[in-house]
Subunit: 151 residues, 2 copies
């Protein structure tokens, strides 16, 4: 993909976009399940952001993590539950989620349909942080969160 976007129209079909490759969610494994990633835009000099599409199969989930960079998310397919900070939200297509710096978050599919969302982030961003045993213990003090998180 070019460093920055060119004039283009990426046609979608069944939540795939032309020749956009289906990528692994992450290189390392074990903290997530049944999720893939497609990079739909690499931004522009005045729009230093990537638009990625993530899709999580039924029973799948993203990694429980936090980081300094912010996420701007729009669900476009199916339903899911999302932990942001200390709250769990039921979300569905076209809901918009803002996740600010250093908030714990995890996306989980609910129901039988794949759960898909676009996520906009800065091109340059820090690497995610996974909870330490101490942070996990702190998170697990809330029984609702404790029964929700998968890691």
């Amino acid at each position: 993909m070019a460093k920055y976007m060119e004039n283009s129209v990426l046609k979608s079909k069944d939540f795939n976009w032309g020749n956009v490759p289906l990528l692994k969610y992450k290189e390392e494994d074990g903290t997530f399940r049944s999720i893939h990633r497609q990079v739909l835009s690499c931004g522009a000099p005045d729009l230093p952001c990537e638009m990625r599409y993530f899709e999580i199969a039924p029973n799948g989930h993203s990694t429980l993590e936090s980081h300094e960079h912010t996420h701007l998310v729009m669900i476009i397919r199916g339903r899911g539950n999302v932990l942001i900070g200390k709250k769990i939200h039921e979300v569905k297509a076209f809901d918009v989620l803002s996740i600010t710096s250093h908030e714990w978050h995890q996306f989980q599919t609910s129901g039988d349909e794949p759960f898909g969302f676009i996520c906009i982030v800065n091109n340059e961003r820090d690497r995610p942080h996974r909870p330490t045993p101490e942070e996990l213990e702190e998170l697990r003090k809330d029984p609702v969160i404790s029964s929700f998180i998968r890691c």
Copy 2:
């Protein structure tokens, strides 16, 4: 709306989002038809962009214009035709459009359903430029574009 986003989940219902106000597309009139705008996110320090939702009713269209700032667009409702530069594209839900600097563009609904899309732009951007009579004459040299544009 806050200068920057806070942790939030904006619930959607029929392509409206909670208390997000329905805004006029533009203050001045005459160059567009049957279109409204909602601002879904004002970005963050590391994500200096707005996410807006535009919806154009059947037979409606946006202003034919160009500007320096770039657009990153995802269609999320219905169908339309979009002029970008010198090409007209038929688009539908989940197609992704990148519109680079100084390209003429115009969005028009096709079919009986409203045509809705999110559009991501930098928070700080130049004002749109409408074609001068000379630029319009140049555009109209192409008979396909000439019969497409509305202004």
